[in-house]
């Protein structure tokens, strides 16, 4: 590849955003180039400027953004082209796919309509010819039954299929360069593997260069020829992918490479008391129905599940989206109506009402995935984390509550002065620490962790995993750890339940599940995850 021609070259690119607090520089004068047919990865954590670099190249910056420097595509500076000249390059010579397959297609037009539009625009074909081309593209990206799918609307397709359609649209005009901005981040792990395979296959067939913008080093290792590592708007390291992985130079690259959560959790002693037990738990949702609207559809989200969680144990609940894992977590905390038996300690709480549950709530806490949506933006951090105390320990004085807030913040590794500030002033990882402090301040016995690390960067994930482990050791906590991320589950849990469509397909001690998965679905999950993160296949 070394001899091939450079087709895109970014020189001294700076991206600034005007905000109410003044100008923010997101990209600080970087140089990147892409050769014909190669795969380049731009790697970095959130806020590194990796996406904005490519958005600037495509003139897709938000209206308050501004790019300077140059982005040369075959001798023409994209930043200074007129809109109509630029629109001959965008979608034709350079195209882009995005992180959000669910929302990146227009919900109001059929797949066929959306595919045909760019084909006609860039190639001047008539409607019938463009229709044929669109069908060919759908076959190329392996959409089953393409004739029928042409008439489908985006909401009738899964996330993986929508991403395939996005790829088809991007490839419609045989581009030189495909920019893929986190193309698999929002997808389930088995779908991720399929989309990555598809991209590799299409590159072999069509020979375009691919620019991967990603935080996922597994993808980089497997697909990229060359890598740029970005941090805070600067390229801190660049080179051949192999070299970066074998011999990273910059401290930040080394830190990224070491950020995979490691270690394992020993199971609790066999005679440890049972904290939470569910027997034949079932949750059924009713969809639709009503006056003259026919029978409602009954959806069994959790189907006959039994679970037994001991003190100081972590059970990992693994499954893809829609498998019912979060619903199970909520049902076990009696936040959703369910059938079956649920015991907390030695009490039967299967039918307990709100009054009965309230005093028990302090011992069973919940931490959510979304560190941005789960903290009230109008309360100070101190108010957020002490709110539970007002309910459960109403006799505490303001001073005592404040003291507890200081202790809780110290415990999760935050500066106690944080309690006088508001959630928006903190990063994702810090907010997740605040959410954990809010749970810990009540001194619970059981914490349900619903994808607590999924929205975080790898390096931050690792810190949160370590924090959760330390808290568990200090307080003999029991965790229900719900996640789709197998590497995190492997580091956190001593027992694993694999769920699919509301049922347990396999369960057992972590090491047994990982070393010798029995069920076909578990094997698929493992293969997909391990494929992406551990091996590099030569294409």
């Amino acid at each position: 590849m070394a001899a091939s021609e450079t087709i895109l070259s970014v020189k001294d690119l700076r991206v600034r955003f005007r905000t109410l607090d003044g100008a923010v520089e997101a990209v600080k004068g970087i140089n990147i180039h892409v050769n014909a047919g190669e795969t380049v990865a731009v790697v970095g954590e959130s806020g590194s400027g990796k996406s904005q670099t490519m958005m600037a190249a495509m003139s897709l910056l938000a209206s308050n953004g501004e790019a300077t420097g140059s982005v040369d595509y075959r001798g023409r500076n994209l930043l200074t082209l007129s809109k109509s000249e630029l629109n001959k390059v965008r979608g034709a010579k350079i195209s882009m796919i995005f992180q959000e397959p669910m929302t990146s297609l227009d919900p109001l037009y059929s797949i066929g309509n959306q595919l045909i539009e760019p084909i006609r625009r860039h190639r001047g074909l008539n409607a019938a010819e463009a229709h044929e081309e669109a069908l060919k593209l759908l076959r190329l990206v392996h959409i089953p039954d393409p004739e029928r799918r042409m008439k489908s609307y985006p909401h009738e397709m899964s996330g993986g299929q929508r991403q395939r359609v996005m790829i088809a649209m991007a490839l419609a005009n045989d581009p030189d360069i495909l920019i893929a901005d986190e193309p698999t981040t929002a997808l389930d792990v088995t779908i991720q593997a399929q989309i990555l395979m598809l991209l590799a296959e299409l590159q072999r067939k069509l020979g375009m260069a691919i620019v991967f913008i990603t935080h996922d080093l597994g993808i980089v290792r497997r697909f990229a020829d060359r890598v740029y590592v970005m941090r805070q708007g600067e390229v801190v390291e660049e080179g051949e992918a192999e070299a970066i992985f074998v011999n990273p130079q910059h401290a930040y690259t080394k830190m990224l490479l070491a950020a995979e959560p490691t270690g394992s959790k020993a199971p609790p002693p066999a005679n440890a008391p049972v904290v939470l037990e569910g027997r034949n738990v079932e949750v059924t949702f009713r969809i639709g129905g009503g006056f003259l609207a026919g029978e409602p559809l009954m959806l069994r989200a959790v189907d006959h599940i039994s679970i037994r969680l001991q003190r100081n144990q972590t059970i990992g609940i693994v499954g893809e989206s829609g498998s019912g894992k979060s619903t199970l977590g909520r049902a076990l905390l009696r936040l959703l109506p369910s059938d079956g038996l649920i015991r907390f300690g030695d009490r039967d709480i299967s039918t307990a009402d709100r009054q009965v549950m309230r005093p028990l709530r302090r011992e069973m806490q919940l931490v959510f995935q979304d560190p941005f949506g789960s903290l009230s933006p109008r309360m100070t951090v101190g108010q957020v984390i002490t709110e539970g105390l007002l309910v459960h320990e109403p006799n505490l004085s303001g001073k005592q509550r404040d003291q507890r807030a200081v202790e809780a913040l110290n415990e999760v590794g935050l500066d106690p002065n944080a309690r006088n500030r508001y959630p928006h002033e903190f990063s994702g990882g810090q907010r997740q620490r605040i959410a954990i402090a809010r749970a810990m301040i009540l001194k619970p016995k059981l914490v349900v962790l619903d994808e607590p690390t999924s929205a975080l960067d790898r390096s931050v994930q690792k810190q949160i995993v370590e924090l959760l482990r330390k808290l568990q050791a200090d307080h003999e906590l029991s965790y229900l750890f719900i996640s789709h991320d197998l590497s995190v589950v492997r580091a956190m849990a001593d027992y694993i339940i694999v769920m699919k469509q509301g049922k347990i397909v396999e369960e057992g001690p972590t090491e047994a599940i990982f070393s010798n998965p029995q069920h076909a679905y578990t094997q698929t999950l493992m293969a997909a995850a391990i494929d992406v993160t551990r091996f590099r296949l030569s294409a």
Binding site: M58, S59, L60, S63, K83, L86, N87, K88, V89, R90, G91, A92, S95, M96, F98, E100, T103, S104, L105, D106, P107, L108, Y109, S110, E117, P118, R121, H122, Y153, H155, M166, M169, A170, F291, L292, A293
Partner: protein, 307 residues
């Protein structure tokens, strides 16, 4: 879809019945009656009149009679305009009010959408501020100020339009009332459109459209506008019901023989049958337009399905 429309029309029947019942009894709670205010009406004559219209019957019997007549399409005679039945009054006045209201609505939807879109495309620039200023003015100046100003400027000073009157529906007579009716609606539509268009332009699929190199026209009109129009569609239902059933202020100021005036006049005069007629007409308009809006929603947005 057909099943859905049928179901909605069926559920409209009990809704209408509840509205009619409530209106009937609430009106009778108010003191006085249709023949109380006539001066010099001797008690005998009054008693005769009331007997003739069945106002001496027990209230429940009157209600049963009224519902019975209503089911046969008979709204009864007007008590204050004894030469006319309520049906005749509406047959004459409703087409006039509907014409004015529909014209005003169409004008408001078209002009408001265009202005809102212009504002959204120029967000926080001069074009945007101009539209917002106009829209704020349009929605804060009351109709009873706009109407006389139009009469004064266009009618008296420049002599371009007649000052008032229906003129047997001549176009020139409709301009003033339609403008007066439309202005506040244009303002509301423009503001709604601006907001939803700004949101629509920020959405991910618009980013996709731009990344595919589609023309500005296609990005804005084909992709952004169609999504942004949905809130306008929802607004149209209640707005249409309100506009098409006439406006007291506009019809009074411009001396238009529409039905808008009936509601107030009839209520003040305790003209029971006319009040009831107005209630039924407005209720039917509201129900029908809300149904049309919901059907339109499914036409614009393929995600909305009613089966």
């Amino acid at each position: 879809m057909l099943r859905y429309v049928l179901r909605r029309l069926l559920t409209a029947i009990p809704t209408l019945f509840v509205i009619v019942t409530m209106a009937f009894f609430l009106m009778r709670v108010a003191p006085g009656g249709p023949f109380n205010q006539e001066r010099g009406l001797s008690p005998e004559i009054r008693a005769n009149l009331e007997a003739q219209f069945g106002l001496n019957d027990p209230l429940w019997l009157q209600f049963v009679h009224y519902i019975g007549n209503l089911l046969r399409g008979n709204f009864g005679p007007s008590y204050n305009m004894p030469d006319f039945t309520v049906t005749e009054l509406f047959a004459k006045g409703l087409p006039i009010s509907v014409q004015l209201g529909a014209s005003a609505l169409i004008l408001a939807l078209m002009l408001g959408s265009v202005l809102g879109t212009i504002a959204a495309l120029n967000q926080n620039k001069l074009g945007d501020y101009t539209v917002i200023a106009l829209a704020t003015a349009g929605s804060t100046i009351p109709t009873f100020v706009i109407a006389p100003v139009i009469q004064l400027l266009f009618g008296l000073t420049w002599k371009l339009l007649p000052i008032g009157g229906w003129g047997d529906g001549a176009f020139i007579n409709k301009v003033g009332p339609v403008l007066t009716l439309a202005l506040p609606q244009i303002a509301i539509v423009a503001r709604l459109m601006r907001g939803s268009m700004i949101e629509s332009l920020r959405s991910h699929h618009i980013r996709t459209a731009r990344a595919l190199g589609l023309s500005d026209w296609s990005v804005v009109v084909k992709h952004a506008l169609r999504g942004a129009i949905l809130p306008i569609v929802s607004f149209t239902g209640p707005a249409a019901a309100a506009l098409l059933t006439g406006s007291v202020i506009v019809e009074t100021i411009f001396s238009i023989p529409g039905v808008g005036r009936y509601f107030v006049d009839a209520a003040l005069n305790r003209d029971y049958t006319l009040v009831m007629g107005t209630v039924v007409v407005i209720a039917i308009f509201t129900i029908v337009f809300n149904l049309i809006v919901d059907v339109m929603y499914a036409v614009v947005d393929p995600r909305v399905r009613y089966d």
